[in-house]
Subunit: 112 residues, 2 copies
Protein backbone atom coordinates (compact mmCIF):
# COMPACT_ATOMS: atom_id res chain seq x y z
CA UNK A 1 0.00 0.00 0.00
CA UNK A 2 1.23 3.45 -0.93
CA UNK A 3 -0.51 6.45 0.61
CA UNK A 4 -0.75 10.04 -0.51
CA UNK A 5 -1.15 12.12 2.65
CA UNK A 6 -2.15 15.74 2.18
CA UNK A 7 -1.79 18.16 5.08
CA UNK A 8 -3.77 21.40 4.71
CA UNK A 9 -2.69 24.49 6.60
CA UNK A 10 -5.21 27.00 7.93
CA UNK A 11 -6.10 29.69 5.39
CA UNK A 12 -5.90 33.30 6.54
CA UNK A 13 -9.23 34.86 7.48
CA UNK A 14 -10.43 33.02 10.55
CA UNK A 15 -13.20 30.47 10.81
CA UNK A 16 -15.03 31.87 7.78
CA UNK A 17 -11.99 31.19 5.62
CA UNK A 18 -11.73 27.63 6.94
CA UNK A 19 -15.42 27.02 6.24
CA UNK A 20 -15.12 28.49 2.74
CA UNK A 21 -12.11 26.25 2.06
CA UNK A 22 -13.97 23.18 3.35
CA UNK A 23 -16.95 23.94 1.15
CA UNK A 24 -14.82 24.43 -1.97
CA UNK A 25 -12.82 21.33 -1.09
CA UNK A 26 -15.97 19.19 -0.76
CA UNK A 27 -17.73 20.61 -3.81
CA UNK A 28 -14.93 21.12 -6.34
CA UNK A 29 -11.96 19.07 -5.22
CA UNK A 30 -13.08 15.79 -3.70
CA UNK A 31 -15.30 14.78 -6.64
CA UNK A 32 -12.17 14.89 -8.82
CA UNK A 33 -10.23 12.84 -6.28
CA UNK A 34 -13.05 10.29 -6.11
CA UNK A 35 -12.75 9.81 -9.89
CA UNK A 36 -9.05 9.06 -9.73
CA UNK A 37 -8.16 5.67 -11.25
CA UNK A 38 -6.63 3.18 -8.84
CA UNK A 39 -7.84 4.94 -5.71
CA UNK A 40 -8.42 2.25 -3.04
CA UNK A 41 -9.31 4.41 -0.04
CA UNK A 42 -10.10 8.02 0.71
CA UNK A 43 -10.30 9.46 4.19
CA UNK A 44 -10.66 13.10 5.15
CA UNK A 45 -10.31 14.19 8.76
CA UNK A 46 -10.33 17.45 10.67
CA UNK A 47 -7.62 18.45 13.11
CA UNK A 48 -9.54 19.03 16.33
CA UNK A 49 -6.52 19.79 18.52
CA UNK A 50 -2.73 19.90 18.55
CA UNK A 51 -1.35 18.31 21.71
CA UNK A 52 1.61 19.91 23.48
CA UNK A 53 1.94 22.80 21.06
CA UNK A 54 0.32 24.74 18.29
CA UNK A 55 -0.22 23.60 14.71
CA UNK A 56 -1.43 25.42 11.64
CA UNK A 57 -2.92 22.22 10.14
CA UNK A 58 -6.71 21.98 9.78
CA UNK A 59 -7.48 19.07 7.43
CA UNK A 60 -5.69 15.79 6.75
CA UNK A 61 -6.63 13.78 3.65
CA UNK A 62 -5.39 10.28 2.97
CA UNK A 63 -5.59 8.48 -0.36
CA UNK A 64 -4.57 4.84 -0.63
CA UNK A 65 -3.18 3.08 -3.72
CA UNK A 66 -1.96 -0.47 -4.32
CA UNK A 67 1.64 0.64 -4.76
CA UNK A 68 3.84 3.48 -5.93
CA UNK A 69 3.24 2.63 -9.61
CA UNK A 70 -0.51 2.95 -9.07
CA UNK A 71 0.01 6.31 -7.35
CA UNK A 72 2.19 7.53 -10.21
CA UNK A 73 -0.46 6.46 -12.75
CA UNK A 74 -3.08 8.28 -10.67
CA UNK A 75 -1.00 11.45 -10.50
CA UNK A 76 -0.73 11.41 -14.30
CA UNK A 77 -4.49 10.91 -14.78
CA UNK A 78 -6.89 13.63 -15.91
CA UNK A 79 -8.90 13.76 -12.64
CA UNK A 80 -5.77 14.11 -10.48
CA UNK A 81 -4.26 16.75 -12.78
CA UNK A 82 -7.52 18.69 -12.60
CA UNK A 83 -7.51 18.23 -8.82
CA UNK A 84 -4.00 19.68 -8.68
CA UNK A 85 -5.07 22.75 -10.66
CA UNK A 86 -8.15 23.07 -8.44
CA UNK A 87 -5.99 22.97 -5.32
CA UNK A 88 -3.90 25.87 -6.54
CA UNK A 89 -7.16 27.86 -6.70
CA UNK A 90 -8.89 26.86 -3.49
CA UNK A 91 -5.83 26.40 -1.23
CA UNK A 92 -2.84 28.15 -2.83
CA UNK A 93 0.34 27.26 -0.99
CA UNK A 94 -1.56 25.57 1.84
CA UNK A 95 -1.10 21.88 1.02
CA UNK A 96 1.84 19.60 1.81
CA UNK A 97 1.69 16.33 -0.16
CA UNK A 98 3.59 13.36 1.23
CA UNK A 99 4.04 9.89 -0.21
CA UNK A 100 3.97 7.34 2.62
CA UNK A 101 5.17 3.75 2.51
CA UNK A 102 4.51 1.15 5.18
CA UNK A 103 7.43 0.52 7.53
CA UNK A 104 6.67 -2.98 8.83
CA UNK A 105 10.00 -3.22 10.64
CA UNK A 106 8.95 -0.31 12.83
CA UNK A 107 5.68 -1.76 14.09
CA UNK A 108 5.36 -4.17 17.03
CA UNK A 109 3.95 -7.58 16.18
CA UNK A 110 0.19 -7.83 16.05
CA UNK A 111 -0.31 -4.28 14.77
CA UNK A 112 -0.61 -3.46 11.12
CA UNK B 1 -13.02 6.92 15.67
CA UNK B 2 -10.53 9.43 17.06
CA UNK B 3 -7.00 9.35 15.75
CA UNK B 4 -3.74 10.58 17.23
CA UNK B 5 -1.49 11.46 14.30
CA UNK B 6 2.16 12.10 15.08
CA UNK B 7 4.36 13.78 12.48
CA UNK B 8 8.10 13.39 13.06
CA UNK B 9 10.52 15.90 11.61
CA UNK B 10 13.96 14.87 10.37
CA UNK B 11 16.58 14.98 13.13
CA UNK B 12 19.81 16.86 12.39
CA UNK B 13 22.74 14.65 11.41
CA UNK B 14 21.84 13.11 8.06
CA UNK B 15 20.78 9.55 7.35
CA UNK B 16 22.66 8.21 10.38
CA UNK B 17 20.55 10.40 12.66
CA UNK B 18 17.35 9.22 10.99
CA UNK B 19 18.39 5.59 11.37
CA UNK B 20 19.33 6.12 15.02
CA UNK B 21 15.96 7.74 15.65
CA UNK B 22 14.12 4.89 13.92
CA UNK B 23 15.99 2.32 15.99
CA UNK B 24 15.27 4.10 19.28
CA UNK B 25 11.67 4.63 18.20
CA UNK B 26 11.17 0.92 17.42
CA UNK B 27 13.01 -0.36 20.48
CA UNK B 28 12.07 2.07 23.24
CA UNK B 29 8.98 3.98 22.11
CA UNK B 30 6.65 1.71 20.16
CA UNK B 31 6.55 -1.04 22.83
CA UNK B 32 5.11 1.59 25.21
CA UNK B 33 2.58 2.70 22.60
CA UNK B 34 1.56 -0.91 21.96
CA UNK B 35 0.75 -1.27 25.68
CA UNK B 36 -1.56 1.74 25.69
CA UNK B 37 -5.08 0.88 26.90
CA UNK B 38 -7.83 1.44 24.36
CA UNK B 39 -5.51 1.46 21.34
CA UNK B 40 -7.46 0.05 18.37
CA UNK B 41 -4.94 0.51 15.57
CA UNK B 42 -1.31 1.47 15.16
CA UNK B 43 0.29 2.29 11.86
CA UNK B 44 3.76 3.67 11.27
CA UNK B 45 4.83 4.83 7.84
CA UNK B 46 7.88 6.44 6.29
CA UNK B 47 7.73 9.57 4.16
CA UNK B 48 9.31 8.45 0.89
CA UNK B 49 8.80 11.70 -1.00
CA UNK B 50 7.23 15.14 -0.75
CA UNK B 51 5.41 16.03 -3.97
CA UNK B 52 5.65 19.55 -5.34
CA UNK B 53 7.92 20.85 -2.62
CA UNK B 54 10.19 19.94 0.24
CA UNK B 55 9.15 18.59 3.62
CA UNK B 56 11.12 17.96 6.79
CA UNK B 57 8.84 15.07 7.82
CA UNK B 58 10.27 11.55 7.90
CA UNK B 59 7.86 9.35 9.87
CA UNK B 60 4.07 9.45 10.31
CA UNK B 61 2.49 7.39 13.10
CA UNK B 62 -1.24 6.90 13.48
CA UNK B 63 -2.97 5.59 16.59
CA UNK B 64 -6.70 4.87 16.51
CA UNK B 65 -9.10 5.03 19.49
CA UNK B 66 -12.84 4.51 19.78
CA UNK B 67 -13.49 8.15 20.59
CA UNK B 68 -12.02 11.24 22.21
CA UNK B 69 -12.76 9.94 25.72
CA UNK B 70 -10.76 6.78 24.98
CA UNK B 71 -7.88 8.88 23.65
CA UNK B 72 -7.93 11.06 26.77
CA UNK B 73 -7.88 7.95 28.98
CA UNK B 74 -4.97 6.61 26.96
CA UNK B 75 -3.04 9.89 27.26
CA UNK B 76 -3.44 9.70 31.05
CA UNK B 77 -2.25 6.07 31.21
CA UNK B 78 1.17 4.99 32.48
CA UNK B 79 2.38 3.60 29.10
CA UNK B 80 1.46 6.78 27.22
CA UNK B 81 2.99 9.03 29.87
CA UNK B 82 6.18 6.97 29.69
CA UNK B 83 6.02 7.20 25.89
CA UNK B 84 5.78 10.99 26.16
CA UNK B 85 8.86 11.14 28.38
CA UNK B 86 10.65 8.78 25.99
CA UNK B 87 9.82 10.99 23.04
CA UNK B 88 11.41 13.99 24.71
CA UNK B 89 14.62 11.93 24.86
CA UNK B 90 14.70 10.30 21.43
CA UNK B 91 13.10 13.08 19.35
CA UNK B 92 13.22 16.33 21.34
CA UNK B 93 11.14 18.99 19.63
CA UNK B 94 10.67 16.86 16.51
CA UNK B 95 7.11 15.59 16.96
CA UNK B 96 3.80 17.29 16.13
CA UNK B 97 0.82 15.54 17.72
CA UNK B 98 -2.58 16.08 16.14
CA UNK B 99 -5.98 14.82 17.22
CA UNK B 100 -8.03 13.95 14.14
CA UNK B 101 -11.78 13.44 13.93
CA UNK B 102 -13.64 12.02 10.96
CA UNK B 103 -15.32 14.60 8.76
CA UNK B 104 -18.05 12.54 7.03
CA UNK B 105 -19.60 15.60 5.45
CA UNK B 106 -16.40 16.17 3.50
CA UNK B 107 -16.15 12.76 1.88
CA UNK B 108 -17.96 11.76 -1.32
CA UNK B 109 -20.45 8.93 -0.95
CA UNK B 110 -19.02 5.45 -1.09
CA UNK B 111 -15.72 6.41 0.53
CA UNK B 112 -15.11 6.19 4.23
Amino acid sequence: MTTLLVLFRRPEGGIEAVEAFEQAYAESHLPLIADTPGLRSLRVRRVSEALGGASDLVIVAEMGFDDRAALDAALASDPMRAAGRNLRTIAPGLATMLVLEDAPGLVPGGWR
